[in-house]
């Protein structure tokens, strides 16, 4: 079944950009130009995710979101906003959005986040996962033991969480910002190569000496864990 995404965005170019990108990646896209129309669509249709602009004519993005949540619509929502400051972000997340992306964004960043939301699924129905794996790499979430081909790998706590994030999204791109937000819980831009250095340390631990590398760099986007390049 193809997944439907609702894009609520008043700026035509941005809307086109998002829609064409999503269509190229196999999504079906519905579009709304203002808040009222967006809310109408959101309540009416079944969407895999909603991309919601923060500043909309007619009805503000956050108002749409709270109206939606009040109506019991639990569709994952990513807020797009030109208001990038951290307090605006927290306001968005508090209102009930699942993710917050400030403009401008790279399409790949948005795509990575939409896909991450798809995997996460509705929180209640998710079965309790106790172990994660990719190829011959396994992670036991209870004993916090990580092995590659039966060999134990010692990881620092943050390295463990970084690898956990990559494993949960294996086969999909995880962007640097997603990592910084998820693993360290900070929303500022840490600088160009901070995440890269952490990744290269992790890579050394899990891929060094192995026949097939698992941790791949996706140029201009981020990183991906997968047993096929």
């Amino acid at each position: 079944m193809t997944k439907k995404i609702l894009v609520v965005e008043d700026d035509e170019t941005t809307s086109d950009y998002i829609a064409s990108g999503l269509q190229q990646n196999g999504f079906v896209v519905d579009r709304a130009r203002d808040g009222r129309d967006g809310l109408f669509h959101a309540i009416d249709g079944r969407y895999a995710a909603i991309v919601l602009d923060r500043m909309l004519p007619g009805m503000d993005g956050l108002a749409v979101l709270s109206a939606m949540r009040a109506a019991g619509i639990e569709t994952p929502v990513i807020i797009l906003s030109a208001l990038g400051s951290t307090d605006e972000r927290v306001k968005g997340l508090k209102t009930g959005s699942d993710d917050y992306l400030s403009k401008p964004f790279a399409f790949s960043e948005l795509l990575a986040r939409i896909e991450a939301l798809q995997r996460r699924g509705p929180a209640a129905s998710e079965p309790v996962v106790t172990s994660l794996s990719c190829g011959d790499l396994t992670m036991d979430l209870l004993t916090r033991r990580v092995e590659r081909g039966g060999e134990r790998i010692d990881l620092q706590p943050r390295e463990f969480r970084l690898l956990e994030l990559l494993l949960r999204n294996h086969g999909q791109v995880v962007t640097r910002t997603m990592m910084f937000e998820e693993v360290w819980d900070y929303h500022f831009d840490p600088g160009t190569n901070v995440i890269d250095v952490h990744i290269s340390r992790l890579r050394r631990k899990i891929d060094e000496g192995a026949a097939t590398p698992l941790l791949h760099t996706i140029r201009g986007v981020g990183y991906m864990l997968g047993d096929t390049p």
Binding site: D11, T13, T14, Y17, M55, A82, L83, G84, S85, T86, D87, V90, K91, K103, P104, F105, A106, F107, R158, W184, Y186, H187, F188, D189, P190, G191, T192, N193, V194, V197, H198, R201, G220
Partner: protein, 446 residues
Amino acid sequence: MLCLAFSLLISVPILAFVYHQTDTLFEQRIRSRLDDRQQRLVSSYDEGGLGELVVAIDEEIETGAARGGAILLVSGDGHKIAGDVAAWPPTLRPPADWVEMRLYPERATQPTLYALRALRLRNGEMLLLGANVEDREHMRASLVEALIGALVLAIPLGLIGGVLLLRVSERQARHIHQVAGRIAAGDFSHRVDEAAGGEEFALLASAINAMLERIEELVEQLRLVTDSLAHDLRSPLTRMRANIERAAGYATAEPEQQALESISLDIDRVLRLISATLEISRAEAGVGRHQFAEFDIGDLLRDICEIYAPVAEERGVTLSVAKAPSVIYTGNRQLIGQSLANLVDNALKYGESGGKIAMSAAETDEGIELSVADWGPGIPPELRADAVGKYRRLEAARTTEGSGLGLAMVRAVARLHAGDIRLEGNEPGLRVVMTLHRTVPNIADV
């Protein structure tokens, strides 16, 4: 002390007035009695001559009509003719209206204070009339006593009144101080209570409130302007970036790809500069106080150290946490984290040659002191003020990549938490100290 001075200032003149009035009244009574006696004696002299006067004098002495008075009649050459005083006081020259003097009347055992009147009669005889004013001395003494008593009573009463009055104005002043503190900390919703504390305070309060209204309006305008500036600038830049990305999809040749990529990087740089500037002005205007929450300062330091240590290590610098006590602080964790990241980033850029960077936190009486020290070339003392100045703000934002919003951002965040930053010599190197105060009035408890 002020109260005491105030109550003295009020009660002393009142009591002095009472004293003076009472004294004058007493004197007037004595004077009028002397007048009566003089008139009676002089009229008997006028009617019956010297003989009649002597009779009248003797009669006055016998009947005690003078009531403690003294009387003496002497001839022109000073010989006593009648009276109860032995001799004419040598220093007294008639006519005299009121002279106070101690005399020995014939029946008295000790000298008594008299108010004396002396007059010369028609044929040269001299008449002395005295009124006992010893009583007045007694009265004065008891009057003073009574007045002191009144003063003793008035002082505590005045003190209490003064303290009450002072307390009312003090409470009002404290209220204004509190409101001003909250406004200074960036919460513009507060107003001074105009109903409490009397007319003058109501006047002051309404003037202050009008001023606050205006400040709030201006800050709100700033917020609107920055938000719409952010929106208006970012939206076209986002479109540009989208189109470049799309163009990169069509471009096959490597040089085209590279050109598009470098345009994309420049757009990112412009966007970061906009964000940095906006973030600074928002923090300076006190926006971001709504995100205040409790967090552990020690954890924050360790987080930042952990994030940057690998990057530092790659550049041959050891980043460590020298001292990070576990202290719970209420503030904006994201902004403080970002500030520390900026300081570490700066230390890496300018103090790399020192080989090490140390972060530390300390609890002070007012709150928290965070510091990042390097062992690099440092900044000469005379240039330190410039380094955080307004001119350097854009400079810093421009030259610092990534998280770097420069020291201006750090200072804005410190001020949001009622603190500041200062630059110190690390001998060798530079230490930047960021102070965060606990006294920031909390929105939650208002």
